[in-house]
Every structure is written in structure tokens, then in C-alpha cells.
């Protein structure tokens, strides 16, 4: 966990690598420092008694905030460097001619590693469908990215550990694959707007080719800066709220509604409530922490988050340009059902 970007592959003679190695060392040192530092701030500097409610809350806050921010910086850096080797053009080449089934698995996987923002959904959709990639495979690709959000993944890892993070990725992949398979089976091609089939999509340049390591590191640095800038306030507020309510609201306050033994309809209810909401993953993570802290079952809480982050109204509205309402309806429906099933699954095994 403490291993860091590029630390293993340092080549001493090149500039960019040494800078990355240096950053990796600094990162590790900071990571090791935050726990003793948080203890010192709470119990030394502030003089709060050990074991006291306030003291623990302060220590928790000063440990968790830097921990999450460090995890975000380190992992976003690595993820962005990895992603710089993938491109939509490459995904299109890899996926064209692939059969349903294998194509869906590959599509969902590529959807995670290929960098694209949800507003690219329309040109991506046309580009894929036009080059003969089956509709279902295209959907597997398009749904994987928002359902498996990298910021959410890192936050889950930081707050709940690697098991929950791994479960999140595998269930997200499964949702993308199954959704694509089901949509492919339903033969919905007729609900794609006609102009899509007529569009000639020019073969674009492969963005991932010909980048130097320096370029890739620069992109990664930018990504880290952008995400931290967008996210730090949420992390601060979220963990602050988490630390603040810790102990004041009874921990089983929500157990009756969202707990493991709550009624069967609690998962679908939560998912339907979440569908119209749209927030970024960072905003959701603290909510998740608070919910679980107060007795919500993790599966129910995760289903809530996936529905909020994964099904976005803006993206759906954009897709309306290329898809008829019927297909959008089926798409949202299938994804929703998949998320609900995942919620049950999580509750059953966690």
C-alpha cells in the first residue's frame, strides 16, 4: 500500500524518473508521518485526554484527511500514467470484430482504463457503433467508466479497506458486462437514431501513441492537481462531519431502515431515491461513511453510491441525441436492476 508511483522502475539517468522517485519517497515519508502527527496534534498540542470522545474525533480527523488526500494524489498519478497508454481509438480498434460475450468483457475492461469524460459519450457511441462494434459491447464500454469511478474506488479503499474496494471493482465490471449482454440480446438497434448509422466516422489519431514519459507524467500531475482542487473541500467536510457525529447519533439510528436485517425493499428504495441525484464520487464518499457509521448495511450504502455516481442525468440527456427514449429507458432500467442486485449481493457477503 505504501509502494508508490514509479518507485520500482527508476532509471537514474533520466530526469522525469528521478523527479517521480523523489516524489515517491516524499509521499511515503508523509504517509508514515501522519499517524504519529495526528496523535500529537490531538493529545499533545490540543492537550485532549486520550480515550476522550473529543480527543478521538480530533485524532481521527487529522489522520483521515491527510491519509485520503495522499492516497488520492498517489493513486490518481499512477492511474493517469497507466491510462495515458490507452485511447478511444485503440479501444475501437481492439473491439471491432469482437464477438458478443468476449467483446463485452473486453469492452467493460477497456471502459475502465480508457480515459474519457462522460460528455464524450455521444461521439464515442457513434464512433463505436459506426465501426461495427455491437451495440451491447458499446454499452459495456460506456457504462463501465461511470459505474467504476476512480475517485470512489480510492476513497472506498481509504475508508473501508481493500476488500470493499475490490468488491466495488468486480461488481462494477459485472454490472457493465451483464448490462451490455442484456442490451445486446434485446436487439434494440432500431431505437438508435437513424443518422448514427449514416454517419461516417473518420479514423482519428491515436492520442496515446508517441507520448514521452515526460508527457505522461505531466498529464498525471495535472490530473492530480485538478482532482485535489475539486475534491479537497468534500473530503474535509465529509470527514469533519463523520468525526463530528461520531458518538452523538446512536450508531444504529439507520439500522432499521438501511441495516442488514432491514426489509427487503430497502435496497431498491435507496437506489430509486438515488437515481435522480447526481453528485461526484468525492461528494458521496463522506455520505457513505456517515451512513455506514450509523448502521446502514454496506451493500445498501454502496448501491446508493453507485446509483448516484453511475447513472447521471446529464449523460442520459446527452445520449438522447443518439438514442430513442425507449432505448434510454431500457438502458437506465437494466443498470438500475443490476445495481440493486449488487446491493443485495454485498449485503449477503459482507
Amino acid at each position: 500500500m505504501a509502494s508508490t508511483p514509479g518507485a520500482l522502475t527508476v532509471k537514474p539517468e533520466v530526469g522525469p524518473w528521478s523527479r517521480v522517485a523523489l516524489a515517491a519517497v516524499a509521499w511515503t515519508a508523509l504517509y508514515l508521518l501522519i499517524e504519529p502527527l495526528s496523535q500529537w496534534i490531538a493529545y499533545g498540542l490540543a492537550g485532549l485526554p486520550r480515550g476522550s470522545h473529543l480527543g478521538d474525533a480530533v485524532a481521527f480527523f487529522f489522520y483521515d484527511v491527510p491519509k485520503i488526500l495522499l492516497l488520492l494524489s498517489g493513486m490518481i498519478f499512477v492511474i493517469t500514467v497507466v491510462r495515458s497508454f490507452f485511447s478511444a481509438e485503440r479501444a475501437r480498434r481492439l473491439l471491432s470484430g469482437k464477438r458478443v460475450g468476449l467483446g463485452n468483457v473486453l469492452g467493460a475492461t477497456l471502459g475502465i482504463v480508457t480515459p474519457f469524460c462522460s460528455c464524450s459519450a455521444v461521439p464515442l457511441f457513434i464512433g463505436f457503433v459506426e465501426s461495427g462494434i455491437p451495440l451491447g459491447v458499446t454499452f459495456s464500454f460506456l457504462i463501465a467508466a461511470p459505474v467504476i469511478n476512480e475517485v470512489a474506488l480510492i476513497l472506498l479503499f481509504g475508508m473501508f479497506g481493500w476488500k470493499v474496494a475490490a468488491l466495488y471493482v468486480s461488481s462494477g465490471l459485472t454490472i457493465a458486462i451483464v448490462t451490455g449482454l442484456v442490451l445486446g440480446r434485446l436487439r434494440l438497434e432500431r431505437y438508435v437514431e437513424d443518422f448514427v448509422w449514416r454517419t461516417q466516422f473518420k479514423e482519428g489519431e491515436d492520442e496515446s501513441a508517441g507520448l514521452s514519459w515526460e508527457d505522461r507524467f505531466a498529464q498525471a500531475r495535472d490530473a492530480v492537481r485538478d482532482i485535489l482542487k475539486k475534491v479537497w473541500a468534500y473530503v474535509l467536510v465529509g470527514i469533519g462531519v463523520g468525526a463530528g457525529i461520531h458518538g452523538y447519533v446512536p450508531t444504529d439510528a439507520l439500522a432499521g431502515y438501511m441495516g442488514k436485517d432491514a426489509a427487503w425493499w430497502s435496497v431498491p428504495l435507496v437506489v430509486f431515491a438515488a437515481l435522480p441525484l447526481y453528485s461526484n464520487a468525492a461528494g458521496m464518499a463522506p455520505v457513505l461513511q456517515a451512513l455506514v457509521e450509523k448502521g446502514a448495511a454496506l451493500g445498501t450504502a454502496l448501491a446508493f453510491m453507485m446509483a448516484v455516481v453511475g447513472v447521471s442525468l446529464p449523460e442520459t440527456i446527452l445520449l438522447r441525441r443518439v438514442l430513442r427514449p425507449q432505448l434510454i429507458g431500457v438502458f437506465v432500467g437494466v443498470v438500475t436492476v443490476a445495481i440493486i442486485i449488487t446491493g443485495y449481493l454485498f449485503n449477503a457477503i459482507l
Binding site: 464524450s120 461521439p123 457513434i126 454517419t199 466516422f201 446529464p314
Partner: protein, 83 residues
Amino acid sequence: MATGVRVIEVLGPGCARCYETLRVVRHVVDDAHLECLVQKSESVERMADLGVMRTPAVVFDGKVVLSGRIPRTEELRQLLGLS
């Protein structure tokens, strides 16, 4: 020699990232006192014609110079041949 006005297009459906890209483009163009037309296009057909699958994209005189991310100021200056 081309005598027409040079054109920079920013392609994207109109999300925050596209507007940020447009802002960077305008900033660089103003800063360099570049004589050119800056356009924002949401046309899917235009994206298809140019092979742009990832937005935002920056197109300079009909050639895609960047796609899929917000350019840095310095990077964009280079792409436009300004530095």
C-alpha cells in the same frame, strides 16, 4: 499561401470541461494577439468528420491538435506553433 482567416474550433457537447478548454484557447489567443476566429461547436457531425471520439477537442485550421482533455496554457501555445 493561405490568406484566409485562421480558425480554432473547440469541439464538445457543452460540459464544464469544454468551456474550460474554450477559456484556455481564448486566453492563449488574446495573449499572443493571434489573428484568428475562435469557435465552439457542439456538432456531432463535425466530430465524426474529424474523427474526434473524445471531447473536448481543439481543432486548428481543420486539423485536430488535441482531444480528450483540457490543454495546459503552455501546451496549447506549442500546439498552435506560438512557442
